[in-house]
Symmetry: C2
Subunit: 559 residues, 2 copies
């Protein structure tokens, strides 16, 4: 029995754009937009899109002016031989009118960006006349333009860009406020252009947070004004550093794309690299066998008994609080090994002298550090260990990031904390590549590869009460840097981070209560991956080229 | 206890090239050459290398002339801030003389390349005077130049390229004759420049076979002269084809780098794409549910009952026998599903009429096909199913490629067949990325990710008698194309294929009987990955940057 007879699809004759791929009676019940908009209506007409299309808005909006320039390039890009044959163009001969203008109406003129920024928008594309975007903020308008850009297709038949299925009426908003990616620039350094490229792709996926894990044990790329020796001695080289100007540039670049940059100050664990520039503030630097002092070489934690340590850390916080304009600041706190401190003679003497346990001193250090962050009117984020492992009395305004498996989400929300979900068993994008070291070191997070479908399948609300679920402010996928660098980071992030993006933006059900399934999603994710490729993002393939052309055959075999 | 005290390594102060990384008393007992040469002697002197170094040889050797030009560029490349600090340059101040000339002596003037080509060479670099390369063939000389290129390092201290540890005396030859990579250009198409880049990197790793899996069910990119409709209808697009001129160019490109190109004519399974151009020669094209007719969508096998099928296949064999000048020809034969044929009315009638079983007809088809390959004086390669699953009476000169797990090697060699090892559980480079499809389809090869150390750990001689082991002519790692394409193929292949390369070239013991261990290998593989990067190959990282700088700390923790 041939597939054509069952599903309406024929794969015979790969070149004929009118018969390959999705059939004219489009079985894809959702628009080819990623992430899926909350509400949409569409028609059956095809509009041509004028390549000189005009975006009409108040001209002093510089964020919008720049965005429109970018999108002019992004919209009018074509692949002469796309893997996705644009079946929508089968209605080409009926294309009636041409769209020449998009009016953008923004209510709130402020360009302030934080977690509570209103990102909603509506987009209307009539069969004739102007398209209209309305949004509360410029950031909603950016999302609207992105959605618009994804609706435009190139029609080989008409030798023109077209909008199929007009008229369109989209009303959209995110389910979760915090939609992010963690990038680790310590284990391997990323050039600014790689970070910017990542911000671009985040914004296309309507993600709004770059969690910048800048420093770690392996290298200290931050060029501090107060303590330049930290980068001088602790970075991989003078070419592997981020100075204030660079960071401000990245923050501004991100803001113009609706992306917040949240810095993570990794401390007091994973801190070997601080000790290269200022040896006195570090304990157990390069102690061997490492395994006794750290979960991963090299060993080294901040010396929590010294005032100098607090002085240096506070100064870096002061500098970052200014450079990173976002209202969130990640104060870290993960993976310390007590033996690093108990074997440090200075720490040991201090504990004895003050009759304190090492955990008490650790608690004092991190709570003081977090208070210093709060003194800059920042919301403190921490890793789950602070709460679940060490059970420190964190103020209730602390945002806790869960990473050790998915069970942590229940625990943190049960305790009433706002939670960001990064469960390693679903949303770690760096794992599954085996043990990067010889014995006796354990695997990184010990997890298998998280295939896109597994990433997408993760219901971050599982087993939660309504009240608990409401405490989830969003999530982040992570690309830790052991086995990722310039050569492979984009393919590891994309398109899997897109799966996270859709769950955090679109959620798990449509507003009318219909489940959003991976079987539906793959039909949109395949062309979305191709569009990201066309835009220059090296997103990995999801399946053989045949499946991209004939998704119903590969992904929805009739029973 | 600081690492420095134990291993001689200090990681304190990352920028100081004299103290970071491997200590001056080089603990790496093997030269930084990949794959490891069979025999080497080295000294303690440092030579400068003249950037106008002259390679002296008979000028009419065009392969050598071109190689020398290439290597002039490859040798004199530097990374201003390499992840591997060249500790060898700690002897900079003692650099005495400058090397300006390499004399190349080739005994055999023929440039014929096949499995039995002598690839051995010797390389001598004295403390003063000319370096000397001797080789039986130009292909041995190419390997010698590659080895030479890897011995040259840039010294930041001397602002010069240097050869450390002179004098050198290397005598080298491969343990196995067949050292290859399979590239699948059907599931995803690769541009010629990607194939050429792969050939480049193969040659740097002293690998000598590109197994070109050109066609499969998903697309038919080969532009046949006799049957142009096969590519016209069966390729992904006119831009996704290989014509005769392109193929000859690739074969010549490879030959100039000592790499043989062995074509695989996938038949009669995995053959849907033939049916797009010539429907009458295919059975069960796009039958659903696919799972009953194929191991992977789309379904479709050659119609083994029709004369026309034989006619087309033989014609393609004729064309390929000429285009692919190598003496090997892969006649495939894997993964057929009998139900595809037994449900085909034409095949079923034929079987009834001739009173044959489907297996008998299948056997006749493949043995006839193999005979036709032999009529071109080619050695026939097949997949293991031909022998181990279907137990067809293959002539003893057939080379059998094992892929279904490692146990097949024992089986094929026990039966006395020359064997190429590609066991999926060790040497498949495409697996480990989860199920690329929804249920009910099985995972690709069902295997986990093969980490470099697992790849390297595979002893292809395990459990074999001496006589059986002697039947192994070599091996191939594979990059099947479900989840690999232009965006990620290099990072999936390299540096893991380098691990295969070393096992096949250097073997498992040195000529003096010492085991070649992964603990030794990683110290050479880290800089080799960095050198491949410098040459433009997007090889994936093996561990955090810190570990590249301080390999003894990450990979050889003192007990």
């Amino acid at each position: 029995m041939a597939a054509a007879a069952v599903s309406g699809v024929t794969a015979a004759g790969q070149h004929d754009q009118t018969v390959v791929g999705l059939p004219a009676s489009n079985p894809v019940k959702q628009p080819w937009v990623w992430p899926l908009p909350q509400k949409w209506e569409r028609g059956t007409s095809t509009l041509k899109v004028n390549e000189n299309i005009h975006f009409d808005f108040e001209s002093h909006n510089t964020i919008l002016s720049k965005a429109v320039k970018r999108y002019h390039n992004l919209i009018f890009q074509k692949d002469d031989y796309p893997m996705i044959p644009y079946n929508w163009t089968t209605t080409d001969s009926h294309a009636r009118s041409s769209l020449s203008s998009v009016y953008i109406d923004i209510r709130d003129k402020s360009d302030h960006l934080d977690m509570d920024t209103d990102e909603s928008y509506s987009l209307t594309i009539p069969v004739s006349g102007k398209a209209i975007i309305t949004a509360k903020t410029v950031y909603g308008a950016l999302h609207a333009i992105e959605t618009f850009s994804q609706i435009v297709q190139y029609s080989p038949g008409l030798h023109s860009y077209v909008i199929p299925n007009a008229p369109w009426k989209i009303s959209d908003y995110p389910k979760y406020k915090h939609r992010g990616l963690l990038l680790d620039t310590s284990r391997h350094y990323y050039a600014v252009k790689d970070i910017e490229k990542t911000i671009d792709t985040l914004s296309w996926n309507k993600m709004n947070v770059l969690h910048w894990h800048m420093i770690d044990s392996t290298s200290f790329p931050y060029k501090s004004k107060a303590y330049p020796q930290l980068a001088e001695k602790g970075s991989y080289s003078p070419a592997h550093q981020y100075d204030a100007k660079t960071i401000s540039g990245v923050v501004q670049y991100a803001k113009e794309r609706g992306v917040r940059v949240i810095p993570e100050l990794e401390a007091p664990g994973h801190s070997t690299s601080w000790g290269y520039g200022i040896p006195e503030i570090a304990s157990c630097v390069n102690h061997v066998p490492y395994f006794g002092y750290t979960v991963q070489p090299p060993s080294g934690q901040l010396n929590i008994a010294k005032n100098k340590t607090k002085e240096v850390v506070n100064k870096i916080i002061d500098e970052w609080a200014e450079l990173f304009t976002d209202s969130f600041f990640h104060a870290s706190g993960d993976e310390v090994v007590m033996a690093c401190w108990t074997n440090d003679t200075i720490v040991a003497s201090y504990l004895k002298e003050h009759n304190m346990s090492v955990t008490e001193l650790f608690q004092k250090f991190v709570l003081d550090m977090q208070d210093h962050v709060r003194s800059h009117k920042k919301t403190v984020m921490v890793w789950q260990e602070m709460l679940l492992e060490y059970q420190f009395p964190l103020p209730k305004d602390t945002v806790v990031q869960v990473w050790v498996g998915s069970s942590g989400v229940k625990a943190t929300t049960e305790m009433g904390y706002k939670t960001v979900v990064s469960s390693s068993d679903y949303w770690y994008l760096d794992v599954g590549y085996g043990k990067p070291r010889s014995n006796p070191y354990p695997d990184v997070a010990g997890a298998g590869y998280n295939h896109w479908n597994r990433v997408y399948s993760y219901d971050i609300r599982a087993n939660l009460t309504k009240a608990e679920a409401d405490l989830i402010i969003g999530g982040e996928c992570t690309l830790w840097g052991e086995l990722a660098d310039h050569t492979n980071f984009e393919g590891k992030i994309w398109p899997r981070a897109s799966a996270v993006a859709e769950r955090l933006w679109s959620g798990y059900e449509t507003p009318s209560g219909e489940n959003i399934t991976s079987a539906d999603a793959i039909l949109r994710l395949l062309p979305w991956r191709d569009r990201m490729l066309l835009r220059g993002t090296m997103a990995s393939p999801l399946n053989q080229g045949f499946c991209t052309r004939n998704p119903l055959d590969c992904f929805q075999p009739p029973e």
